[in-house]
Amino acid sequence: MPDGGLFIPLVVEVRRERSFFGVPHRLEPNLNLDAELIAEAHPVEPLSVVPDTSVREVFALMKAQKTGSVIICSDGKVAGIFTERDALNLMAQGASLDAPISEVMITTPATLHADDTVGTAVKRMSEGGYRRLPVVDGEGRCVSFLKVSGIIRYLIEHFPQTVYNLPPEPSQVMQTREGA
């Protein structure tokens, strides 16, 4: 195992006050959730709309972009979030699609800051049951979007062989010896 310590000292100094769930974690040096910023966990470009966009337009946009959530921005700042879960609830209620998205969005959503660590993101997501969180800068502008799938991939990247090289079916027994 190559030495994993080459980037720790720098980051630990800067972020000493943070530790995962309040206690210093005891994992091997190559898992640095308290030191690494969320930029490492594959944030994606956010899809954003203005508050008076109709629900109908938002539905169509989400389908076209194959995405499960949109950020609603007002004057560049995050005003709300609307996810496929909210879309499902509207459909179940048979709600009208002509209302502006601002009437049905979730206002003041939980967010992350660009300088938050992966550890903070994991904590916020698992405790709040969120699958995605908007990432904002110091002025409340949405700069990216962090998804749970990005965090899972970040963790897998610490042991890619173990996951990516798995056979497609777990319990496979060979009945015959294979030829070439």
Binding site: L88, N165, A180
Partner: protein, 495 residues
Amino acid sequence: MSTDTSLPVLKPADFASDQDVRWCPGCGDYSILAQMKKVLPTLGIPREKFVFISGIGCSSRFPYYMNTYGFHSIHGRAPAVATGVKTVRPDLSVWVITGDGDALSIGGNHLMHAIRRNLDVNIVLFNNRIYGLTKGQYSPTSPLGKVTKSTPMGSVDNPLHPLSVAIGCEATFVARTIDVNIKHLGSVLARAAEHKGTAFVEVYQNCNIFNNGAYDYATDRDTKAETTIELEHGKPLIFGKNRDKGIRLNGMEPEIVELGKGITEDDLLFHDEKLPEPSLAYLLSRMHYPQFPEPIGVFRAVDRPRYDVMVNEQIHAAIEKKGEGQLEKLFHAGDTWSVDAGEQQATELDADPGGRTPANPLEEAILQDDISALSPRPHPWVAPDTPISQVLEKLTESNVGCVLVMDGEELLGVFTERDALMKLNVDYAELKDHPVSEYMTPKPRTLGENDKIAFALHRMDVGGYRHLPILRDGKPTGIISIRDILKYMAQRLQA
């Protein structure tokens, strides 16, 4: 918005064959197979236009696992078979899957000629630097000093470097990627597919049984930024965790320099994959770890006349002049015979997930813990003829993102909130009386409650699924979601 409905939209699953994949658990081949299935649907080529041709070796089982045309041919001769296929059917997308032994030892001769002819095929060489199928003898890419079953005192053979060989044959497209760098692997395969002419791709592939860890330096998250360098056309060669090091040319020799201290990006070597002369690409192919970071990405991508095009022009010209030939006569000349198949011996192979020592407690946990540790929750289910309106109600009332669609005890499909948004969308009011079977995701991938959590991670990350039905004795007992996985991992990290 109008959509072109003339071509069916293909998905990775459409390229999966019904054959059991029989590589050792933990083999890098799995990752390459998964990315290939992901890339092919993006190419806009109908499935029946793909052909996978292989020789002999572990990697050469690839054609069985693709639901396309394929040919598991003879040792080292895949390029020869591919030459025939592509020349007769220039409309096909032809892929040669080979390994370091098959391509460079047994089939070195054929490889060289396919490349120099610039036949329009894609050659993917899985380089694990060992003979895997024959259980661990040294290969033409095994390093000097390598102790194997056939080199008990260490190899004294100077190894071949596949990209240097391909560039020596003046390949028009040359690239390198790594099995577990899945994003890079996918993008390189896509670039190779787009190239007109021979596309030669070397994939660093881990053989976890006979040469485990051969590429740890290039895949380990902590070292890969220092040991590999990603090539980008028109960009300077910069690497390092802090992107503070670069490659500079000192005369004809590359050297590592640190940025700053009077050295700027402009002093560095700039990558140019379009150079007509292959010298720069060759120089890059000679950069090896540990002296240098090893380049990954596209080394060379240039245009040159293609064999398949030129031969067909000659054939057309000949037919115009002399008329059609008579191939039937040739086919029925000489003797034919058949060989009886011998009896096959039944053996049982041990499954050993992972095949390597876990690097940290989290990795150990996902290999040891069963999916039942995630406590799959019993999930609501509906019959296939349930109207959409009732299904939506069920999803909201139960506060879940996914229902199972069951016909008695048989799992027919799942319907998720994602299906609702993507398939019903603004038309949901008109579709509310339709049966759920029309809009469900049929035949979902499942796992057993005694399978390891690592498999659930694989399905979710590679397959992109967020819900997995879990079975006991073949019957669904519940569903796990990606949030359950996050919660599980968060608890492990806390412990």
